[in-house]
C-alpha cells in the first residue's frame, strides 16, 4: 500500500458473534506492522442478536466512518448482514462472508403466519446473487464446517481472518495477522485457531484464484 492510501474493511455480523474480537485482532496486527488504524465501532446497547458493524480503516483515514462505495473488503460473519451494508463496498471490492444465516424473528413470524406454508427463509444463494451485482469477488465460506475441521466450532472467526490475508492487496502481512490471532484467542484453543486460520487462508486463495 502506498503512502497516503487507505485500505477499508467493513466488518459486519450479528451481536454476540465476536465481531469486536475480530476487530481487536486486525487492530493489533495492523499496529504491530506499523500502520495507522482508525475504526468506527457500533457498541451501544448490549442486546444480543442485533445487526452490528465495525468500520476498520488502515493507512491514512481521517474519518472513523468509511464513505459509501469505498470499502476494499467486507468481512461478514452472517450472510444477510453482508447485504445489509452493501452500500459501503467499492465496485469489484472483495466480499468474504460466512454462509451462516441467522433467521430473524420477523422472517420466522412470516413463515409461521403463512397457512399455505409457501414462505421460505432467505437463502445464501439469493443473497450472493445480489452481492454479485456489485462485485465478482464473493468468497462464501462454510465457516462452521471449516472450524469443525480445525477441531473447534468456536474458531469460525479465525477462519474468516485467515481468509483476509489470501487477498492480493491486503496490506497487513500474513505472519502479523496470524501472530495477533494466536495472541488474542484463549490459550487452550491456540492450535485449533491456528489450523482454522490456515484453512480460511487456503480456501479463500483457491476461491479467488479460480
Amino acid at each position: 500500500m502506498k503512502k497516503g492510501e487507505t485500505y477499508n474493511i467493513l466488518f459486519c455480523g450479528v451481536g454476540g458473534q465476536g465481531l469486536m474480537l475480530l476487530s481487536a485482532i486486525l487492530g493489533k496486527a495492523g499496529l504491530d506492522s506499523g500502520f495507522n488504524i482508525m475504526t468506527g465501532e457500533q457498541h451501544g446497547l448490549s442486546q444480543r442478536h442485533g445487526s452490528i458493524y465495525v468500520h476498520f480503516r488502515i493507512g491514512a483515514p481521517l474519518s472513523p466512518l468509511i464513505p459509501y462505495g469505498k470499502a476494499d473488503m467486507m468481512l461478514s460473519m452472517e450472510a444477510t448482514e453482508t447485504l445489509r451494508y452493501i452500500e459501503y463496498l467499492k465496485k469489484d471490492g472483495i466480499i468474504i462472508t460466512s454462509n451462516r444465516i441467522m433467521p430473524t424473528v420477523i422472517e420466522t413470524k412470516k413463515l409461521a403466519s403463512d397457512k399455505e406454508k409457501k414462505t421460505k427463509y432467505l437463502t445464501v444463494g439469493q443473497i450472493t446473487e445480489r452481492l454479485k451485482q456489485v462485485t465478482s469477488k464473493v468468497v462464501v465460506l462454510d465457516s462452521l464446517n471449516l472450524a469443525l475441521q480445525a477441531g473447534n466450532p468456536r474458531t469460525e472467526n479465525s477462519v474468516l481472518v485467515g481468509a483476509t490475508v489470501a487477498c492480493a492487496d491486503f496490506p497487513i502481512p500474513k505472519e502479523e495477522v496470524k501472530k495477533a490471532v494466536l495472541a488474542l484467542v484463549p490459550p487452550k484453543t491456540i492450535e485449533a485457531n491456528s489450523r482454522a486460520f490456515d484453512l480460511g487462508c487456503s480456501i479463500c486463495a483457491d476461491c479467488l484464484g479460480g
Partner: protein, 634 residues
Amino acid sequence: MTVEDVKRTDTGNALLLANEAVVRGALEANVKVVAFYPGSPTSEILDTFSEVIDHFGDYKMHISSNEKVALETVAGASMAGLRSFTSMKSVGMNVASDSMFSIGYTGLNAGCVCLIADDPHAHSSQSEQDGRYFGEAAYVPMLEPSTAQEALDMTKWAFEVSEKHKTLVILRTTTRVNHQRGVVKLGRLDRTPFKKNRWQDIKGPYYTVGEVARALKAKLLQKIDAIRADFEESDFNFIVPGSGTVGILTAGVSYDHTREAMRNLRVKLPMFKLGTVFPFPEKKLGEFLRTISTLIVVEELAPYLETRIAALAHTYNPSLKILGKKSGHFSEMLEYNVPIVETALARVLGKKPSMDYDAILKKAEELKDMLPERPPIFCPGCPHRGTLWAFRQALQQLRIQNKIVFNNDIGCYSMAFLPPNEFSDSMLAMGSSLGISAGMEMALEDKVIAMVGDSTLYHAALPGVVNLIHHNANVTLFVLDNAVTAMTGQQYNPNSPYNAGGHEARKINMEKMFDALGADSVTIIDPYETRDCIAPIKKAMEADGFNVIISRRDCALYGDRLKRDAGEIIVPSENMKDICRSIYACIRDFYCPAIAIDEKDHKMIIQQELCDGCLECRQACPVNAPKHVKVKGR
C-alpha cells in the same frame, strides 16, 4: 488488549477506543475520585475504570445511583481537594444539571471534569439532544475532542483548566467520537498514593443563594473572561491553512469528516478547528473571519456554532456569507459522514463529489429490497420475555386489553413497545413512568400500569413511587428486577451486593423498601415459571391501591457469565418434534431469536448455539414441546 494499554507505564503508541483514551487521560492527570451512572455511548469509561481499579489501587470509585448523584460526588471530592471525574450520556446531564448550574456559581477546588456524550441519530437514546448549550447556559467551560488522541489530551488539559479557574469543565463528545478507535501516543503515568485531606486545611464556601448568588454571578462573568483569554492561546483552537476566500468552521467528529471530504474533493479550504465550544476564542475566530468572504459551518445537530459565529461576524466581518443549516446546506437531523459533508462542500464549490454517493445508495436500496429487518430484540433467556408474555395472558384472561394504559420506562424492557408486545403508551425518561401514571390515574377511567427496571427504580423512579403511594393512587407497578443495569452492559447498581471492581456493597432490600413505603401489596414472581406468573399478575391488576409486582430473575447475559465463571454448563433446549403440533405460540407471542422453523417439516427448531436453556418457550407452548434433552457444554 486495550484495557492493558490503559495500564501501561511507557509512553509508546496504543490503539485505544476514545472512551479508553479518556480514562487514560484522567489517570495521567492523577484523578483520585470517579463516579458514574452508565449510559451509552459512555459506558466503556465506567467499565474501564472499574476494570483497572485494583491494578492502580490509588483512586476511589462509585457506580452511583444516578448522574446527579455522580456529579455531586465528584464535585464533593473536588471541594475536598481531590481531582475527580464523571461521565454521562446526553440525557444524563438533564438529571445532573440541577446541581451543575449551581456548581457553575460556587466553583470548585481540585480539578473536576465531566464528560457528556451526545448521540446524533439517537442510536441508543430517546432524543438527539444537543448538549453544547449546557456549557454556555451554566457558564461552565466546554471542550470538544475529534479523535482518540484529542480525547486523551483534552481530558488532561481539562483538569488543568478546571484547577486553574476553580471551575467544573465539561468535555463534550458524540457517539462517533466515543466509539472510534485510534492510535494514541500515551503520556506519562505519574500516579500518587490515595490520601485524604482535612477540611480545615482546604475549606471554602460552596453555597449560593440570593445576595451570595448575585455576588458569585459577577465573579463568574470575570472568570469566563479569564478562561476565554486562556482559550485564545490554546493549541486546541487552531487554523488549518488553505487557499481561497471560502473557509470552514468545524468541531468534534465533523472535523474528521470534513478533512476527508476535502481530500476526496482535492481542495484545501482554510479551516478553523474549534476545540473550545464555550467560551469561544473570539479574537482568534474574529481574525480568521476577516480572512474569508464565505464561511461553511460543519456541525451536527443544532446550529450552535452557526448562530454564535453569525453574531461574531457582525463585529469582525459584517459582509461574511455564512453557509450551514440555515442556508439549507446541512440538516439539523441525524449524524454526518464523509459523503454528507463532501456533497455539501461540492455544492458550494460547484464541484462534483468524488463518487456518485446517491447512485450507490439507490442501487444498494434496490439490492436490499428482500432483506428482512433485524430489529433489537430481547436476548435468548431474557426474563423480560416471560414477564411480558404472562402480562399479556393476564390481560386476555381479565378481558381488559383495551381498558389499560401502560407507562413504560428506560431499560431493555423499553423494547416492550416493539412487536410482539406493543404495550407502551408512554416512555419518556428515566423514572418517568411513575409521574406520568400519577397524571393518567387522575384523568383516566382505565387501569394504570407502570413498568421500571431495578436500576431505573433507584435512579429516578423512587420520588414518583413515594408520590403515588402518598396520594393513594391506583397504580400497578411492575419492577423488572434482573440484578444489574442490563442494557448498558450489566453494571452493578444499588440492587447489587457489589460495586465498582466487584467490591462488596450493600444491596438495597427492594421488597422491604416497598413495604416500608406503604405499598398495598408486594408480590415476587419468577418469569422463568412463566405460567405461574399469570395469577399473581391478575390479582395485582384487579386490586385497588398501589400494588407492586417484582419480577425477579438475573439478566441472561449476566447470569450466563456468572455460570461460566463458576464452571457451570449452560444446557440449551430442544424442541421435541414428536410432541410439537406447529401451533407456533412460541413464535407469535414470543420472538426468541433462538427459535426458527424447520422448512422440511414446518416444526419449530431451537438453534442450539443461540439457546440459553431458559425454557420460557416451554411455558408458552400449549403442549410442552421444548425440553432440555442432553447436556452439552458451551
